[in-house]
Symmetry: none
DNA sequence: GTTACTCTTGAGCGAGCCCTAAGAATCTCA
DNA sequence: TGAGATTCTTAGGGCTCGCTCAAGAGTAAC
């Protein structure tokens, strides 16, 4: 299978140079001159790797917030550590500063794709349970064919549930993993979001079938 | 859960500096001065991330050839692209050249661990005895195939018993460990919960086989 | 600046669980 | 064997936990 790469780079010369080289290596490459356009292409899905330019820091963050798991290798002209740190924190998987050697770029692309392939043992870009269909690439959810509108947090929570299906998950763990709170006082946040998910996904939210309560321990997703 | 990192670095100063910093960030760190030793530690398993020095190129290759999937972040003094390429090709997941900023190291460590965590569906921890099966991940208990409903406390108590099987456990110890009571007056709480467990798990609750009474001392789980 | 939307928090309420008490049963030792 | 100590069983009151609702803060979109 040919792997598809989205290259976002505003400088035409570089865009063509890098793009051609990647194509020579046998990758499918689409290019885009700017971040906004790139974001739309990326969220439309279908790419195995993104190469956004530094200006795309916010693109990177937005993609992650929407739960998109596509690997991102960030390119930039600047060589400031703080930028690298920022990029990685915002969800980039790797970071390369210009000027860079083409060889190194290719090696990193290869490493990223190899790593991504490991995770895609189960090519579950889509996960289904009951009459619910969750598309992780486009971050869309359907219930019996009809689209269901989830907020970002709801989608992240649902994703985490799906990833850990069958496990009993404590509120604490969910807060740490989904909300990234290190330590939080007692709060009803998780309950409320679970209630919303049930409202949108369960046939009978009062008698949930998918997200069940484990009294005294937390919640468990069965799907 | 604390993430464990293996740091292979022959220069003592750097080894201590980096090690301490990582520990400060909350990671569990083991250090090793040389590649051979490091290889043995790594293949023994249990680490979430490896930080080998460049000299460990062969270590890296060997680990991969043996099918070990632990993430590897390679550190090196040399800044030659060809080395980076080699490192990545040999299976390193990331590559950092000295001198490097500690902040960047930390960010890359974090990114690698986050990425690694995605694929980790915690292994099914199941303990069986007789016709009873206890699944710690889903907090489910089966008796001869039929599900048994335990309350949270009952499950915690059973878990503690299993973890300390063969040991004679006093009521006091159980209260402290399972109930997290610091000091309690005389109470029958433990007895009652043990009785409930026996009711649900034993073939003949009057003649318990798994949770036996040690008269005058406490209880002992045999499974 | 306004509007719409999401996220968080706290209070009220109901359900389910846990602890306690007390009598019955069992065990130990003289 | 019998007395005393220890353990078992049962049931209900009390209390923790989980759900729901609503309001306010925060944020993005226009």
């Amino acid at each position: 299978m040919e792997e598809k790469i989205l290259l976002v780079e505003d400088e035409p010369g570089l865009r063509i140079t890098i793009g051609d080289r990647l194509r020579n290596e046998g990758y499918g490459v689409e290019t885009s001159p700017d971040g906004q356009d790139g974001y739309e292409q990326a969220s439309a899905g279908g790419f195995d790797l993104m190469l956004p330019r530094k200006s795309g820091l916010d693109v990177c963050r937005d993609l992650r917030q929407n739960g998109l798991a596509v690997p991102i290798l960030m390119l930039t002209a600047r060589d400031q550590t703080v930028d690298k740190v920022l990029g990685l924190k915002l969800g980039a998987d790797d970071y390369l500063t210009k000027p860079f050697e083409m060889l190194e770029l290719l090696a990193r692309v290869e490493a990223l794709l190899r790593r991504a392939a490991v995770g895609t043992r189960s090519p579950t870009a889509i996960h289904s349970f009951g009459n619910i269909r969750v598309d992780f690439r486009s971050t869309e959810v359907f219930r019996g064919g009809d689209p269901v509108t989830l907020s970002a947090k709801e989608f992240q929570l649902l994703s985490y549930f799906i990833k850990h299906r069958g496990e009993t998950l404590s509120r604490e763990q969910l807060l740490q993993e989904v909300w990234e709170y290190s330590s939080t006082p007692y709060t009803r946040t998780v309950d409320v979001h679970v209630a919303w998910l049930r409202q949108k996904l369960e046939d009978d939210p009062r008698q949930p079938r998918w997200i069940v309560t484990v009294h005294g321990l937390g919640y468990k997703f069965t799907g």
